[in-house]
């Protein structure tokens, strides 16, 4: 069963309830939403695809690493995939901590890491009829093979 990735609308209330803690004086929620323009182009349709086996593992590890690095009590991350509409919530990070500084820092770290390490791809269709996968972040740069070297030379 998938814990972190869903093709359903992301619901914030259950996450807030699930993470309630009397130890915490700070709650930081980051939500990423689909925006109308990207690089000056009007977006009409958007699809997120995922390699779920690794994405689930990475999101769980990011939660654990965020808990380890910062003085926080809870960190939960959810990412939506499939067809979304403008304004839809695509990702949400919920952090609870005793104090706000750690909560803000942890939430920033968690979403930045999600964007760099989780195998999810955004495909956009634009108002002019064109479409493209959004340029992303390589998961790693280790390419010692001839294929990689040839590609680099092109």
């Amino acid at each position: 069963m998938l814990q972190h990735v869903t093709d359903q609308s992301l619901e914030l209330d259950p996450l807030l309830t699930q993470t309630e803690s009397e130890e915490c004086g700070a709650l930081v929620v980051f939500g990423g939403t689909v925006r109308l323009y990207n690089d000056g182009r009007k977006v009409t349709d958007i699809n997120y695809s995922v390699y779920a086996p690794l994405a689930e593992k990475m999101l769980s590890e990011i939660e654990q690493e965020t808990l380890r690095r910062f003085d926080i009590v809870r960190c939960e991350i959810r990412h939506r995939v499939g067809d979304l509409e403008i304004g839809d919530l695509s990702v949400v990070v919920v952090v609870r901590a005793a104090h706000r500084a750690a909560a803000f820092e942890a939430a920033r770290y968690a979403i930045d890491t999600v964007k760099h390490q989780v195998p999810i791809w955004k495909y956009e269709v634009y108002a002019d009829g064109s479409s493209a996968y959004v340029k992303g972040c390589p998961l790693h740069n280790e390419n010692e093979t001839e294929t990689g070297q040839e590609a680099a030379a092109e």
Binding site: S49, E56, V118, P119, I120, K135, T147, G148, A152, E154
Partner: protein, 90 residues
């Protein structure tokens, strides 16, 4: 075993992101000289079959199951190599 053994020297590949688009679908099979094959062997085979994919492979990570693997990792018959081009979630 097949009559010519060719199907026994193939590795399943799953393509995501822009590679799915370039390769014309998510799943395909790539022929290799022999098994076990390295990840690099499979990538070279894919680039041979789909020349347009070659320029994306340098920045593509590879996985088997939920594990990222390096270019010298070995694949046996029945393994599936998952190709993960630069990611853009969030």
């Amino acid at each position: 075993m097949s009559a010519d053994g060719a199907s026994d020297r193939q590795i399943g590949v799953e393509c995501y992101g822009v590679l799915q688009q370039v390769c014309g679908g998510r799943e395909r099979r790539v022929s290799v000289a022999g098994l076990p094959a390295t990840v690099a062997d499979v990538l070279e085979g894919l680039a041979r079959d789909v020349p347009d994919a070659r320029r994306y492979l340098q920045h593509t990570a590879c996985a088997i199951g939920d594990r990222i693997v390096q270019r010298d990792a070995r694949l046996e018959a029945g393994d599936t190599l998952v190709l993960l081009p630069p990611v853009s979630g969030g």
